[in-house]
Symmetry: C2
Subunit: 211 residues, 2 copies
């Protein structure tokens, strides 16, 4: 067991993929797996898998390998899938709606408790049993319900103002679909950026440079 050690982002970014593969193994009725066999399936080295897992503890057993169910649960705990962090979503345009509808927040550590949009015309509309609220009531709502995390699906130009407001309201983490650089202004909050336009541009590069 090795808690409190610094874990690199490279490792953390691989955890959800381990979690996913272990879930599949479970579904396939496989109850035990070696780092070698898992490395074959995932296209990694066995060495890397053992190193990654040992950042968090000795989950395996020499001569045996890893118990799939146990490892799945341990990684789930590490990722916090059972935490149910209260999340709000700001921006109920196409992207916000897709995120709200598409994403299984609950199985990934979050509980979506509010959706906000500046467009008064859509206030009251329901998405996944949650009413869209006017951005005007964001303050009151947060003071009452104390969300911890916010997903930002608003235009980048409106992002700074909303982030200022949300940080003041105690938001500790952002799932940021905008281009505003939250960490530059607030180095102590947790930020996960999803830059779809950056992503599609690297695809363009790859297509150009593919054999």
């Amino acid at each position: 067991m090795a808690t409190n050690k610094y874990i690199s982002m490279s490792v953390i970014k691989r955890l959800p993929r381990y979690y996913r593969f272990l879930s599949n193994l479970k579904d396939d009725g496989i109850s035990r797996i070696s780092s070698k066999e898992l490395s074959n399936r995932m296209g990694l080295t066995a060495s890397q898998i053992r190193q990654d897992l040992n950042c968090f503890g000795g989950f395996g057993q020499q001569g045996y390998g890893y118990n799939v169910e146990t490892l799945y649960e341990e990684i789930g705990k590490i990722l916090g899938v059972d935490q149910g962090f209260k999340m709000i979503l700001v921006g109920a345009g196409n992207l916000g709606r897709a995120i709200a509808t598409h994403m299984s927040f609950q199985s990934r550590g979050f509980e979506l408790i509010g959706i906000f949009d500046k467009n008064q015309a859509i206030a009251g509309e329901m998405i996944k049993n949650i009413p869209i609220r006017s951005i005007n009531v964001l303050d009151d709502f947060c003071k009452e319900n104390l969300p911890v995390v916010a997903a930002l699906c608003i235009p980048s130009s409106e992002s700074e103002e909303i982030v200022d407001q949300l940080v003041a309201l105690g938001i500790k983490g952002f799932w940021n679909f905008t281009h505003f650089d939250i960490l530059a202004k607030y180095p102590d909050v947790a930020v996960e950026n999803v830059h779809l336009s950056d992503s599609i541009m690297t695809l363009s590069y790859q297509v150009m440079n593919t054999a």
Copy 2:
């Protein structure tokens, strides 16, 4: 000038961000910038910026720095923003609609020419002046219009079958929102994965482990 050299993914993933910052500089009427000044704005080291740019050529000038307009255009060329690769989108659920509506394909190297869904009921509906077509006509459409790239916004479970079909139809690149591992089966196509559920889980981890 150093063409044909291998460029690491680390570098390529930074290019869209350079492109974005240069665009902002242009908008602000700034015509020239040093690696030092750019590094301050972007939160990188000047050294890294110079190394990155020199993978593609000597765009700067000693004692002067870089011309913003020129550098912007050069990076645009490297990324292929003017290529207009023909793209189709498969899956017109919430996510597919958001992508189709939200994303500026044209300024990022692509031209969206077709949208497909297995749900016959929504066939004919228009998104961004493009009709949703039945997946049944995917074959004919591709043979006639020769798209190069496909965005996959379908359930992961349906992904393998569609990918098989699309690769056979000559698709060379995938913008993959599913969990199906395209590269494992087709190592020679270009793939850019967007795993939103992985992304949100790393956020959960970060929120848990933030001071």
